[in-house]
């Protein structure tokens, strides 16, 4: 599917670019799958980071990376994200006595 996407829509010519882009799209798909399928809080974070990895690979595959300043800022953003989400994992662990997100079901409807 990623291959068709890369080949038909993006019209990538060179083989190296094509391969890298296909891999990056697959990585993004796998990342989102991990997020949906796993119930542990930590694995959800891992899924998100896998997705971010895929996006960076896509960026460097098709356009040779983002402008320098933007990349630094993105890196900083993800760094802050990880720190903040770890604080939340700590809180979830303390309050729910486990980091299983399927225990969160008091808010519905």
């Amino acid at each position: 599917m990623s291959y068709i996407f890369a080949y038909k829509i993006m019209c990538l010519g060179k083989t190296v670019e094509l391969a890298a882009f296909v891999i990056s799209i697959s990585t993004i798909c796998i990342g989102s799958f991990i997020m949906v399928a796993r119930m542990k809080a930590l694995t959800q974070i891992i899924g998100l980071l896998v997705m971010e990895n895929g996006i960076f690979l896509a960026a460097s595959a098709i356009i040779g990376g983002m402008p320098f300043f933007v990349e630094i800022a993105l890196f900083f953003d993800i760094f802050v994200f990880v720190i903040i989400i770890e604080i939340f994992v700590y809180k979830v662990n303390r309050l729910f006595t486990h980091i299983d997100t399927s225990r969160m079901k008091s808010l519905k409807g």
Binding site: C11, L48, I63, D77, I84, I85, K91, S106, L107
Partner: protein, 493 residues
């Protein structure tokens, strides 16, 4: 330069919040800071309009046109009301021992950082930087959602941060696709919006279509459009009430602003039909889903949150109907909804504070308990559902008019049905909350002065804009409409 001074205010205030220990003094300083910010914004808007609305481009990093000014003005108004409301709200929470004085300082620190990030978003020229600042708003406000450190609020904060981050990651992919097509097809090696707009007519059609889909799903998650709205009622119901007002009033609109920037790019490349179709579908679906959930709601703040989903859907629908005057209507609706929803959340916050529950079945007889807030909430309810003398009536009507103008009869019929359903649901639930006999256990509290001031301040806009639109504001909206269409009028295809 002046505008940069404006956005420096919340930053300075956030540092002050760490230095000052007394929460009462801190709250008052905070409110004064935002009053100054609001005054400066008004002055800036007036100068901007009288100077012919020429876009300001500072060092290629900041780009300010009518669209940015409109969103900054909305943010400033809601932020001022929220900061006034916070003075009393946080004071009482500290007095009752719900939060400690040290945490109150933390609250004001985060509040200011949150406002700072939201004010920066409309100023930036670089689309990746816009993405980063929008992600920052999520990260900062997650602490404000999970402020109480109990199971429900942590759950809401977790959902909020995870769903919004994933959504916005897709938006980043969309940004990268836009960058790809602009560098390959148009030869512009820059993420600056002003540069990309020059070559937008050369963009590759398929890539732009895919990219715009990613953008609308990604930023749509943050804006609370229907299939991706799950975080919204949780976060809004668990956040502190001033923050609920800010989340619903401004945060959702800021990501709509990001979508608008891409709508302009995609319009030039594809013509309006493609974006229009997508925006109408998402908007209508949001209205439909929200109308259903409003009818069966049992939680007062969740009810208001679903009403936000409905209204954001209407605004999106308005923007989708752009060629028929829908942009004007949509933006007017964004402004009106921001003001009214903040107003309603402040009233609901007072009710929740006094009754110590969110449940609609337990909050009864507000009129006996706190007359001023109850009357305000009643009027706010009429404004929210769109009854005449209030401002939302005009914007809803003009969205419907533009739908008829565009011969979208089916869409407008469906929209009217869903609006009527939401109208019935809101009226049913909220009148039950306001009228009736109050429970014996609840004593009559003292109504806070700061709440009254905040409600009156927002009330001026709710009623005033319904009766008379200031020419400056009208010019601003017309200019926004022009920005979205002036580029699209000379397509390259």
């Amino acid at each position: 330069m002046f505008i940069l001074l404006i956005i420096l205010i919340p930053f300075v205030l956030s540092l002050l919040a760490l230095a000052i220990k007394k929460e009462k003094i801190l709250g008052i300083i905070n409110a004064f800071g935002y009053a100054i910010l609001f005054g400066m914004c008004l002055l800036f808007t007036k100068n901007f309009i009288s100077g012919g609305s020429v876009p300001i481009n500072l060092w290629k990093t900041f780009y300010i046109d009518s669209l940015s000014v409109f969103f900054i003005l909305t943010t400033a108004i809601v932020a001022l009301a929220a900061s006034i409301y916070s003075v009393g709200y946080i004071g009482v929470e500290v007095k009752e021992g719900v939060i400690s004085a040290r945490k109150a300082g933390g609250y004001f620190h985060l509040f200011n950082l949150f406002c700072f990030t939201m004010l920066v978003v409309p100023l930036l020229n670089n689309l990746a930087m816009v993405w980063i600042t929008i992600e920052m708003t999520t990260l900062v406000s997650a602490f404000l959602v999970g402020f109480h450190n109990v199971k429900e609020s942590i759950e809401a904060a977790w959902k909020y941060i995870i769903i919004c981050s994933v959504g916005i990651t897709f938006a980043l992919l969309g940004v990268i696709f836009f960058y790809y097509t602009s560098s390959v097809n148009a030869g512009i090696n820059s993420l600056n919006w002003t540069r990309m707009i020059e070559g937008a007519h050369l963009f590759d059609h398929n890539v732009v279509k895919i990219a715009f889909l990613f953008i609308i799903v990604g930023y749509g998650t943050k804006a609370g459009l229907a299939p991706m709205h799950n975080w919204l009622p949780d976060a809004h119901s668990q956040a502190l009430s001033p923050i609920s007002g800010l989340l619903s009033g401004v945060l959702l609109k800021i990501s709509l602003y990001a979508i608008l920037r891409f709508v302009i790019l995609a319009n030039i490349a594809l013509g309006y039909a493609f974006c229009s179709k997508l925006l109408i579908i998402f908007g209508l679906f949001s209205v439909a889903v929200a109308a259903g959930f409003i009818l069966v709601q049992r939680d007062l703040k969740r009810l208001l949150a679903y009403s936000s989903v409905e209204n954001i859907g209407l605004a999106t629908l308005g923007i989708g109907l752009g060629p028929y005057g829908g942009i004007f209507a949509g933006l007017l609706h964004i402004f009106n909804h921001a003001v009214v929803k903040a107003f309603m959340f402040f009233c609901a916050g007072e009710a929740v504070r006094v009754y110590r529950t969110n449940s609609i079945f337990k909050i009864r007889g507000m009129l006996q308990c706190m007359p001023f807030t109850a009357v305000a909430m009643f009027l706010g309810l009429f404004a929210l559902v769109g009854l005449p003398p209030f401002a939302i009536f005009i914007s809803k009507l003009s969205i419907i008019i533009s739908a008829f103008k565009g011969r979208y009869y089916f869409v407008s019929a469906l929209m009217l049905i869903f609006i009527a359903l939401a109208f019935a649901g809101l009226l049913h639930h909220i009148t039950r909350v306001i009228l009736g006999n109050k429970p014996q256990t609840v004593e009559r509290p003292k109504e806070l002065l700061s709440t009254k001031i905040a409600l009156l301040f927002l009330g001026i806009f709710i009623l005033g804009l319904g009766l008379w639109t200031p020419p400056v504001f009208c010019d601003l909206l017309t200019n926004c409409q022009k920005i979205i269409f002036s580029f699209a009028e000379n397509p390259g295809h």
